[in-house]
């Protein structure tokens, strides 16, 4: 097994290679505005570091968010197209699950929260690092304060809003290394991974115009 994992759903552009036993190479850069530019050179670097060619990869794993859409799509589109060109399966994994896995908490519950911008967070509650209790959601921190009261939390969304998440720790962003390890574990256990489809959680901002604007001066 040789898994190429990538995620662009948070400000991190992160890539990792996993050979079924361990992560053999990885790269993470934090730059929320340059996902498109950074991802492919990072893939190239990780492959070079591991000394393998892309055609040796047996599967692709991509974070499916939730995350700010423009960046999120870079990873998904790249994964999809690699899958098409190489003829290998493309798997999705919830980005929050990757963060929960990296948090390495054996006994929860705890919260994973990432920055959804517009003063909101993407979040979910976990039993432990491998078990999600709630569906990923997007909310204002103040609106979920009661539901997460007393729970420790990880992720940039938690670190950003200490009023709602007083006990917040690292990791701040997801790493592809964690996603790859989680995927390798699940695949080895014969689990189905989710389809590589984006978790947007919000509708596109668009308003149906009621009427055209009258131009005749009143």
């Amino acid at each position: 097994m040789l898994l190429l994992a990538l995620d662009t759903a948070t400000p991190a552009v992160t890539v990792a290679l996993h050979d079924g036993a361990a992560v053999i190479a990885s790269s993470s850069q934090v730059d929320a505005r340059r996902h498109g530019e950074l991802l492919l050179p990072a893939v190239d670097r990780v492959l070079a570091e591991a000394g393998v060619k892309l055609d040796a990869v047996t599967g692709i794993v991509t974070g499916i968010g939730p995350g700010p859409y423009t960046g999120l799509r870079v990873g998904l589109m790249t994964a999809d197209t690699f899958g098409l060109a190489l003829g290998v399966p493309v798997h999705g994994l919830c980005t929050l699950d990757g963060l929960a896995y990296a948090a390495d908490i054996e006994k929860g519950p705890f919260v994973v929260a990432t920055d959804a911008r517009r003063k909101e967070v993407y979040w979910a509650v976990y039993e432990d690092s491998r078990t999600r209790r709630t569906d990923p959601a997007v909310d204002r921190p103040a609106d979920i304060a009661e539901q997460v009261a007393g729970l420790p939390a990880v992720g940039a969304g938690a670190l950003l809003y200490p009023d709602t998440f007083p006990v917040a720790h690292e990791p701040e962003h997801v790493s592809a290394a964690a996603l790859a390890s989680l995927a390798a574990e699940k695949l080895a256990a014969g689990e189905e991974l989710p389809e590589p489809r984006p978790l947007y959680l919000r509708r596109p901002d668009a308003q149906v115009p009621k009427n055209y604007k009258v131009v005749t001066p009143k």
Partner: protein
């Protein structure tokens, strides 16, 4: 000819997911998935809706294009993609796909200019572009007069709209007339049964002191809307056919007049018209008439090649390969305001401090 470059082109600058395949100047496939129906109820293209649709449609559209062309991805000589101008988020989906595809297949990548591609597509219809070529590009996003002596390296803007694009004016007037979105085709249809001289609508920027090659459609749009509103306020029926014909005539009169004048002034004997508005039947007819009178050869590709598509991107990519232009780097980014003077975005190979685009050949899928 088998030794002409075989190139796949990807276009996602607006609401069409286009994947085209060409061999030199021969069109092999032109697969397009459009999200226009999803935008109709919003009365215009919604960028986020378009970006989501591109992500969904990309892989199936690439597969369809390869099947239509009857070629294997392995045989491609390059992958071209619209790097800009266009909607930033939409462009980024296409650029991401093109980069991953080119990298995985071990093919050179060419990030190209959407406007130059609109011009170059005519090679698929009428053979190699005359050099120089004058081009009038008119769509919902652009209205420009461009002069090119080499479509891979030299595109000079002579004029452009200073406010709305021509296609936008069609959409807005269609909305005022309650004809739906997009406005171009429906106005064209009504105009056929109307009198183009029924109402004297203004011709923007045609005064003696106005810039010779720039366009303005905002004043026209307001004038038409006011005229309609006045009719309605007076309780009279709006003559939709005459309004459509007279409005359309005002647009195409200015477009063709300025394009022919630019040809004359620059001593160019070929005019190509591209972009979605080139599908307008009156624009085609009037351009033909005026070009003939001026001794100018008019080249307008078939309608499907005028609207946004992947074949135009492939056509320009093939020309880049044929003329040995420097491919783009793997750090190519989408540039929503890529200047028209940049027909493509070459990689930067001579910056020693930046190894980002130095890709080790061994990692390429070979």
């Amino acid at each position: 000819m088998a030794d002409e470059p075989l190139v796949l082109g990807i276009e996602t600058s607006c609401d069409e997911t286009g994947v085209g395949i060409v061999r030199g100047t021969t069109l092999l496939a032109d697969a397009v998935a459009s999200s226009v129906d999803e935008h109709a109820r919003f009365g215009g293209v919604v960028p986020e809706v378009a970006s989501r649709a591109h992500l969904e449609a990309m892989v199936p559209t690439i597969e369809r294009a390869l099947k239509d062309a009857g070629v294997s991805a392995r045989d491609l000589d390059g992958i071209a993609v619209t790097a800009g101008p266009g909607l930033a988020g939409a462009l980024l989906v296409g650029v991401s796909a093109a980069k991953a595809y080119a990298y995985a297949l071990g093919k050179p990548l060419y990030g190209v200019n959407h406007l130059a591609a609109h011009i170059c597509v005519d090679q698929l219809e009428h053979g190699p572009l005359p050099e120089p070529t004058m081009a009038l590009l008119v769509s919902g996003g652009h209205s420009s007069l461009l002069l090119s002596s080499d479509i891979t390296s030299d595109v000079r803007p002579l004029g452009a709209t200073i406010d709305d694009a021509a296609g936008e004016a069609f959409d807005k007037i269609a909305r005022v007339l309650n004809l739906g979105f997009p406005g171009g085709p429906v106005i064209d249809r009504y105009a056929k049964e109307g009198d183009p001289s029924a109402i004297a609508f203004p011709r923007g920027l045609t005064g003696p002191r106005d810039p010779a090659y720039d366009f303005s459609f905002s004043g026209l749009k307001t004038a038409v809307a006011r005229w309609i509103e006045a009719k309605r306020a007076a309780g009279e029926e709006v003559p939709v056919r005459d309004v459509s014909a007279s409005f359309q005539e005002a647009v195409v009169d200015v477009l063709t007049r300025k394009a022919v004048r630019a040809c004359r002034d620059e001593g160019v004997d070929h005019l190509m018209i591209g972009g979605g508005v080139a599908a307008n039947s009156r624009l085609r007819a009037l351009a033909q008439e005026r070009c003939e009178a001026a001794g100018i050869q008019l080249r307008v590709p078939r309608m499907k090649l005028c609207t946004d598509n992947g074949a135009m991107v492939a056509a320009l990519g093939a020309e880049m390969v044929a003329r040995n232009r420097t491919p783009s780097g793997w750090d190519l980014s989408a540039d929503s305001s890529l200047p028209v003077t940049d027909p493509h975005v070459p990689g930067n190979h001579d910056h020693d401090h930046d190894h980002v685009h130095e890709v080790s050949k061994e990692n390429l899928y070979s």
